[in-house]
């Protein structure tokens, strides 16, 4: 019997049909190290979970898998956990969950500013200790909770099955920020114990190349020169931008992105403290709206120096920030896409800016995959505007 070749001496041998080539376990050819290499190419945590049931050999190897991708099925806010209500209610303390922002519909910019920058509300926070979260299923606690008849499990619980994870990617089912279809909003944030840097790219509308075919036939030479500056545009922000709500909208975009990023960072604490072998952690979403990244040094920093939580909500405190903003009313990308009202914001903690004056171009441009990387590069060549923001 081929099973006698296995090092696992506790393997039970069940009566099997006479040995023929067709009944040979294919994986008998491979040592554990190669089987593990195959498992490291699977990624999806559910597939890995199913593998645990296949055989004892699989079951013993899966915990050693280094590369895991968790696709979260749904995100449940605090309020959903304590009440049976499906869609969240806007009136319940706007700070505690960004999920509410999405479920509550698109919030008007002015209201949003009031909510983000206004005085601390006195409404009581939910008494439940669950964080709004991630569920491969459910709430952030380890307990499995019944909600509307469906059982949910948290990523923290699911990941307990692995002890050697080096590369972890978690994918939320959607971006947290509810925006109109036409609007472009993308962010990328790197965190250690606190925000290290964040880049946001936005546009009030995106016109895909095929839609341009019939229009725009005489100004292509003006816009298509690759550096985003047309004849009558000196790279500066037009005056109207300040009065027609353009600046306000972009501040809202920026703050929303930072809130989403800091909320994600906060949720990751239990996973980070438990998995000390992590080299890289990425928390993204299916829409590719936001990407939070942490590398090995940053992960270690968080373990050593715990994050500061924002007082009113379940998210990490955002430090005082220095921001650089670039704007183009009309930006044509190399692939033909046109962005209207394109805005790039590069954000760093104020106390960091003095030190490494790195070439802004590189870390900003590499934040996004194409075609948006090009957009960022083009925008960064225009006139720079600086903004400061308090911690929140």
């Amino acid at each position: 019997m081929m099973s006698s070749l296995r090092p696992d001496l506790t393997t039970k041998i069940f009566p099997e049909p006479p040995f023929t080539a067709e009944h040979v376990d294919h994986f008998d050819l491979l040592p554990d190290s190669l089987l593990l290499l195959i498992f490291n190419n699977i990624g999806d945590v559910k597939a890995l979970g199913r593998c645990c049931v296949v055989s004892k050999r699989f079951h013993n190897l899966i915990p050693q898998v280094e590369n895991v991708v968790v696709r979260v099925d749904c995100v449940i806010s605090d309020n959903d956990a304590t009440s049976a209500a499906g869609a969240s209610d806007k009136s319940r303390g706007p700070f505690s969950s960004l999920v509410r922002l999405v479920f509550g519909g698109i919030v008007k910019p002015i209201q949003a500013i009031g909510q983000f920058l206004g005085p601390k509300r006195s409404s009581p926070l939910p008494s439940s200790s669950t964080s709004s979260a991630l569920s491969v299923g459910n709430n952030g606690d380890d307990d499995v909770e019944q909600l509307g008849g469906v059982t949910h499990h948290s990523p923290t619980q699911v990941l307990k099955n692995f002890c050697d994870i080096r590369f972890l990617k978690i994918e939320l089912p959607s971006g947290e920020l509810g925006i109109e279809d036409d609007v472009l909003l993308k962010w990328r944030a790197d965190f250690g114990s606190t925000l290290d840097n964040c880049v946001m790219l936005g546009a009030s509308s995106v016109i895909q190349p095929q839609n341009l075919a019939s229009s725009e036939n005489n100004s292509d030479t003006v816009c298509g020169n690759g550096n985003g500056i047309s004849n009558d545009d000196n790279g500066s922000i037009p005056e109207s931008f300040y009065t027609n709500g353009g600046l306000k909208l972009r501040v809202v975009w920026t703050i929303s992105s930072l809130i989403a990023a800091s909320a994600r960072h906060y949720l990751l604490q239990p996973i980070i403290s438990e998995h000390k072998t992590l080299d890289s952690l990425v928390l993204t979403d299916v829409d590719r709206q936001g990407v939070l990244c942490m590398n090995k040094e940053q992960l270690e920093e968080l373990r050593v120096k715990p994050l500061s939580a924002s007082s009113a909500s379940k998210r990490t405190l955002v430090p005082a920030l220095t921001m650089k903003l670039w704007y183009a009313p009309h930006l044509e990308l190399p692939n033909g896409t046109v962005l209207k009202g394109a805005t790039l914001v590069a954000i760093r903690p104020s106390e960091q800016s003095g030190q490494k004056e790195v070439n802004d171009g590189s870390w900003v441009a590499s934040a996004f995959e194409e075609p948006y990387g090009s957009a960022a590069r083009m925008l960064a060549k225009r006139r720079t505007y600086c903004l400061e923001m308090n911690s929140f």
């Binding site: 050819l29 199913r50 059982t151």
Partner: protein, 168 residues
């Protein structure tokens, strides 16, 4: 360090040809150098590391079509530094592998590991991983002929522990 091999050319005249193997040459193509004095022919081969991508390999336990496909990949992939050529070679090999029986691919994983070709190893491992990821537990056991060595109670306990993996 050189190895000397002596060949008997024919039975009547024992004319021997000495082949010297020199492991340190940089020539891409082995070209024989004849030394008339001692009638030795020296054929220099590239050392293992730089050349093993382009020498056709023989792969045990796979059919000739598979062996040919792998060799075609090695030839094409090793022949150029251009990204597009290498990507084409990978795509061709990938399409071929997707049509093969999974048992063959497992054999190829072992082969790639044995010859330390990490590009091949990555492709073959990824293929096996893709097959496993899509299937149910029973299907995986069947496709790979894996014996279920859990008792029914043990299996149920593990399924309960990993309930999240079975819910959609």
């Amino acid at each position: 360090m050189s190895q000397t091999v002596v060949l008997e050319q024919n039975a009547v005249e024992t004319q021997s040809i000495t082949l010297k193997f020199d492991g340190c040459s940089s020539d891409a193509n082995p070209s024989p150098i004849v030394n008339p004095e001692n009638q030795s022919i020296t054929i220099k081969f590239d050392d293992q590391a730089s050349n093993h991508h382009t020498i056709p390999v023989s792969i045990p336990n796979v059919d000739s079509e598979t062996e040919a496909a792998v060799n075609e990949f090695l030839r094409k992939h090793g022949s150029s530094d251009e990204e597009s050529v290498r990507t084409d070679a990978m795509n061709d090999l990938w399409s071929f592998i997707e049509r093969q029986e999974i048992g063959t691919v497992v054999v190829l994983v072992k082969f790639a590991s044995d010859v330390k070709n990490f590009e091949l190893l990555e492709i073959f491992c990824q293929r096996v991983a893709d097959v496993i990821a899509k299937k149910t537990v029973e299907e995986v056991r069947e496709i790979f002929n894996i014996a279920n060595d859990f008792t029914p109670e043990e299996e149920q306990a593990i399924r309960d522990e990993h309930r999240w993996a079975f819910e959609d």
